[in-house]
Amino acid sequence: MAKYLLLKHYRGAPAPVNNVPMDRWTPEEISAHVQYMNDFAARLEKTGEFVDGQALAPEGMWVRYDGEGRPPVTDGPFAETKDLIAGWMIIDVDSHERAVQLAGELSAAPGAGGKPIHEWLEVRPFLACPPTITE
């Protein structure tokens, strides 16, 4: 078993095939997209592979420590940030192949015209726990 993070980007991923921004879709197309995402998560719960899924607001800021007794320094948000994460799903699957297969299915979520977006998703393995037997 291994956990993988499927990352969805607002910006920073290569352009998808069906590259129409969401605000140009019809309301029905948006509903169909949301339904697809919900159904996908529900299906993974049923197969016992779902761990977590969350969406992130695009607005964020940078924060850092500024020394003892001082409030943290904040900066941003920066409109030009190249890589902007939109959300994630965490899955717990039997193989890397299965993670790739599921990411492929998630990327088929419908967009404009009800056609798959072919969105690029980033697939990142978790660092696991160390095995006991190593020699």
């Binding site: 078993m1 956990k3 719960e45 049923k46 197969t47 016992g48 592979e49 779902f50 761990v51 977590d52 717990d92 699957v93 039997d94 393995p125 660092l127 696991a128 726990c129 160390p130 095995p131 006991t132 037997i133 020699e135």
Partner: protein, 378 residues
């Protein structure tokens, strides 16, 4: 109340229900309910006959769950008084449960989860915690696994090797939460080895005991990994080592070698060395040769290269390593170690850092990064 003792009764209770005619999935749910009830009630009111209590309560839970109307209720109450004898089991019942829960139609993760619940008696919550997934996900994984094996008949023997593979996974992978998975794997393997006459079951039990013996020495107080050569051998559990060695010797004497016996033999040779310097690497290399013959696994060849490096010097180890695919997990870490032993510290430092980036888990990554830092700071 001894929770482990309670859980050890699980397979026996479950098989009674199945023998009385309950289907496996419903019986398993009922036993789980009875275990939860026992944990609640027993501390204040312990029963005289623990297994009898569990059978009675589980059977009642089963009836509660399946009873649909009064007519059916009357019928089942009669069954309660006179349990159906069922067909005489051809093979030990507990053993059948192991086969069912490790059935080849299940994925490894499903087989692990089902084994821990139906044979181990762990709750879904405990299993979910051990594998860091939500309880709802684990519950689905288990019920799906039960559906998958629902058509499998319980009256013919399965393949012991698939069961051993599942128990090995339980021992080797998983996080320590509430439940000690390694101890649980040992308990289940011990139970299996007692139920089946199979040298590899004994071999796996020996392997687990010999590795478990080193547990206290394997991690530093700060949680970092301590490599075998640097472990305080005084902290190894000599009782577990003695037991593991005795079980292994009895298995080897039967002359039906398998990969778990060979792995246990390697662990036994390490256990036998009073200091790392006194390790019998020549014999360990011979066991790796046997393992290579048995499994032809690239991981075994990689470990063999380490052993060759100790037996015949780092140059020989590097030569053995050169024959292997460098995309193998831990290949770079082994190369770093052998280069350090060979005195090429610059190359070793670079390879340790590279290996840290490729490490499959946090503990190994931190360990490799420290090795790189140690050499860079010299």
């Amino acid at each position: 109340m001894d929770e482990v003792l309670l859980r050890s009764l699980t397979p026996g209770v479950l098989t009674v229900l199945v023998r009385r005619g309950a289907d496996f999935a419903a019986a398993e749910d009922a036993v789980q309910d009875a275990l939860v009830e026992a944990l609640r009630v027993w501390p204040a009111d312990p029963p005289r006959d623990a297994k009898g209590w569990l059978v009675t309560v589980a059977w009642r839970k089963f009836l509660d769950a399946t009873r649909a109307d009064a007519a059916r209720r009357r019928r089942e109450d009669r069954v309660e008084e006179e349990p159906a004898p069922g067909p005489a089991p051809a093979v030990d019942d507990t053993l059948q449960l192991y086969f069912l829960c490790a059935h080849p139609s299940l994925t490894p993760a499903s087989a692990v989860a089902l084994t821990l619940r139906a044979v181990g008696g762990l709750t879904t919550r405990q299993i979910a915690q051990a594998y860091l997934v939500p309880e709802a996900t684990m519950a689905q994984r288990i019920s799906r696994a039960k559906r998958t094996v629902s058509g499998v008949r319980l009256d013919r023997p399965g393949d012991v090797a698939t069961v051993l593979r599942v128990l090995y996974l339980v021992f080797n992978e998983g996080y320590s939460g509430d439940v000690d998975l390694a101890a649980e794997a040992i308990r289940l393997t011990r139970q299996l080895a007692a139920a089946v006459d199979h040298p590899e079951a004994a071999g796996l039990l020996a392997l687990m005991l010999l590795h478990h013996a080193r547990r206290a020495a394997r991690t530093a107080p700060d949680g970092s990994l301590v490599p075998l050569a640097e472990q305080d051998r005084g902290r190894w559990d000599t009782r577990l080592i003695a037991e593991g060695v005795a079980i292994l010797q009895a298995a080897l004497a039967r002359d039906r070698l398998g990969e778990f016996q060979a792995q246990a033999a390697i662990a036994a040779l390490h256990a036998d060395a009073p200091t790392a310097e006194e390790t019998d690497w020549v014999q360990i290399v011979e066991w790796y040769d046997e393992l290579t013959r048995l499994t032809d696994s690239p991981v075994v060849r990689l470990n063999r290269a380490v052993a060759v490096g100790e037996a015949d010097g780092p140059r020989a180890g590097l030569a053995a390593l050169a024959a292997l695919d460098d995309s193998l997990p831990r290949h770079t870490a082994v190369a770093a170690y052998l280069h350090e032993r060979d005195g090429d510290l610059a190359t070793a430092a670079r390879l340790y850092a590279e290996a840290a980036h490729k490490a499959p888990n946090l503990a190994e990554r931190d360990h490799l990064m420290r090795q790189a830092a140690r050499l860079n700071a010299r």
